[in-house]
Each structure stands twice: as C-alpha cells, then as structure tokens.
Amino acid sequence: MIFSTTRHANNSDAESLPVGYNSTILKEFVDTLEDLEDAQTLDMGPVCQENITFFALRMGRHYVCDMFLRLKREKRKELQPGNGWKHLDYPDRNFDGIQLWDLCDHLEDDDVSRLVELCYTMLRATGLLMLIAFENKPASSIVNSFVIGQDYRVDIRPQPHLELPWEFRHNRALTSLLSNFTIVRSFRYHSGIREFLFKKPGGFRD
C-alpha cells in the first residue's frame, strides 16, 4: 500500500491518506454497463474531469450532478440536506448505473434513506449502484474525489473547497440502508476503503 505524504495545511496531525488502488468494483461496474446498448450513467460528484471523460467515452450518455457541492451550499445556507435532493430531478428508470462514491459517508441516516430511495427510482431494473465508504475517520473533513486512472486504478484527490461532516457506518448498517437493493459484491482494502456494488432487483433491463 502506498501512502501519500500530503497533509492538510490546517491540521498538522492529519493522517496520511491512502492513495492508489486497483478497484475491482469499478471494473465490474464498467464491464457490466459497457455491454449494454446506450447505457446511461449518473455520477454524483465531486466533479472530476478524469472520471467524466472516462465514462463519457464508454457509456451512451454520462450525467453528472455534483451533490457534494450542492450539499455544501445547502449547509452554508443552513438548510437541511434534503433541500439538495431537488437537483436529482431525473426521470424514473433513467439510469443503468449510479456512482455515489462516498456521498453516504457525509449524510445522516434519514438523508441516506432518501438518497437511496431516489437512486432506486432513477435506476432501471438490474441497474447498478456503486459506493465507497471509509472505515477510518479521515483526519480532515475535506472531501476527496476518487480519480479513475489506467487499468481501473483509483487515486484520491482532496477537494479543499469541499468540507462536509463524516459519518461512520458498519457494513451491516450501510447494507440495511440499502436493503431494497441486492448486494452484488463488496471489498474491503487494508487502507480502510470499502467498496460496494448493489443491483436493483429485476429480471431484465426495463
């Protein structure tokens, strides 16, 4: 495992962030969706050029709605995160795949439930939901983007403009919040990163 030496300027005790791993879940997510004709995917951010290009060159249509930045703005306005869900105004059964990255880590249970409900509605039957959860509390509240590189390598890039609270959940707590979905696969890396791939139940793509 490689660890970055980058430290948050305001926190000299910050722990090193794990960087660089080959994502098995991401590969499965992409391999499955690439086989579909005109697959549509939704990335909930943070906005990342590498990721947008990666998916836009592989999927029929790639949607991006940076919910991290929207949540931060709602927080700044002292509004409930629920106000941010209005941005996810996509038609029902519109997507074959949704990437949440670690968005759930920055939401309380009620908001995760609402988000999962929206994802369920927006996904087609057999659609995939990919998410990441940190096992250890990050030293800083700065949000990271998971940058896709060659051969499904994922690197972490801090987003200094984004600071959000962090919530820890055990695997069981997380999967129970997504109980409407079928869990396809999950991995835990020694760095403390957990990856999950869920599938919307259904016999065929609707």
Binding site: Q49, I52, A56, C65, R157, R185, Y189
Partner: protein, 180 residues
C-alpha cells in the same frame, strides 16, 4: 459594448439577431480575453452591461461578458463566457470555454472547457472536455467516441516497438478481502 481585440477596417460586423440593447459602458470594463487563446484571430467581446435576446452568428471568436439568451452559431470559431457572463441557450462553435453561468446545450467540434468559477447546467456534445475541480456542474456529457477509437487505433502500432513498463499493483492480492 462590443469590443474587438484586433482592428480590421474592412471586416463586417457580426450579425446580431432580434434585440441588441447597448448601454453606456465605463471604460473600466475592459476585455478579459486570454491573448494566447485568441492570438491571430479577431475576437469580439460583448460587455458586461449588454443583454442580448435572439441569435448570434459569427465568423470570428466571441466572448460574452454580459447576458445572452438564444442561439449562438460560431461555426469553426471559438466562443467563451467570461466570469460575469450569463448565457441561456444553444451554442455551436469550434471550442467553447465557460467561466460564467451557462444553461442550455453546447455542440462543439473541438473542446469544451469549464472552469471552477463556472455554474453549468446543461448538455455537452464535443470531441473533448475538461472541467476544473470545484465547478458547479450539472450536465450530460457526450464525447466523440469514434474519434477517440480512431486516435487509439492510430497510437496502437507504436506500442509493440516500445516495451510496456511493468504494471505495478499497488495492492497485493492478499490486501483485498472479498466479503461476498
């Protein structure tokens, strides 16, 4: 206020459709065009206090620092929205740069670039795309997959002649625990 970055006595002005509202503009509102981006090509700048509703068709580069609602047809020329610019509509151009507020559709023959200051809500069809971390972005991105495949095919013959560096797995197999 319309400004040109390069004087040309013989050239004809842009055809600006429907309404063109021009108000006195302080001299402090200067152009904010990157010289390197537009060097060698004339560029028209629509100033911060200009509001246009309708369509613009141009044969040179265009920067909007003001507000525009409608269709912008720049053919093989570049189009930019400045930091204070606001555009709601459809843009057709060679390369497009968004530094301000945009809502609508962009069809670019080349690249679309969205900066971190941008507030983007719309659809992009382009050959290539870039966006800076921090951009307020909601959109659909469709890139020219055929052009990408062709460029990959063109590059591939070079690969066998140069030995590929050994791929380094940063996580050894035993570092991964399969839970289900």
């Amino acid at each position: 206020m319309l400004k040109r970055t390069k004087k040309d006595e013989n050239s004809t002005p842009n055809s600006v459709g429907d309404t063109l509202e021009e108000k006195p503009t302080p001299s402090s509102l200067g152009p904010t065009v990157g010289q390197e981006r537009y060097s060698g090509e004339e560029t028209t700048i629509i100033g911060e206090r200009i509001t246009i509703e309708g369509s613009i068709r141009g044969e040179e580069n265009l920067v909007i620092e003001g507000a525009m609602k409608g269709t912008i047809e720049m053919g093989k020329h570049d189009f930019s929205i400045g930091p204070n610019g606001r555009v709601d509509g459809e843009i057709h151009a060679q390369n497009v740069s968004i530094d301000g507020l945009f809502k609508g559709t962009i069809k670019a023959l080349g690249k679309v670039a969205v900066t971190k200051k941008a507030d983007f809500n719309g659809e992009i069809k382009a050959k290539s795309f870039s966006v800076e971390d921090g951009a307020y972005f909601k959109g659909v991105v469709e890139l020219d997959r055929e052009a990408h495949k062709k460029s990959e095919a063109t590059e591939s013959p070079r690969e066998p002649s140069s030995p590929e560096p050994a791929k380094q797995s940063v996580i050894p197999p035993n570092d991964v625990k399969m839970e289900k």
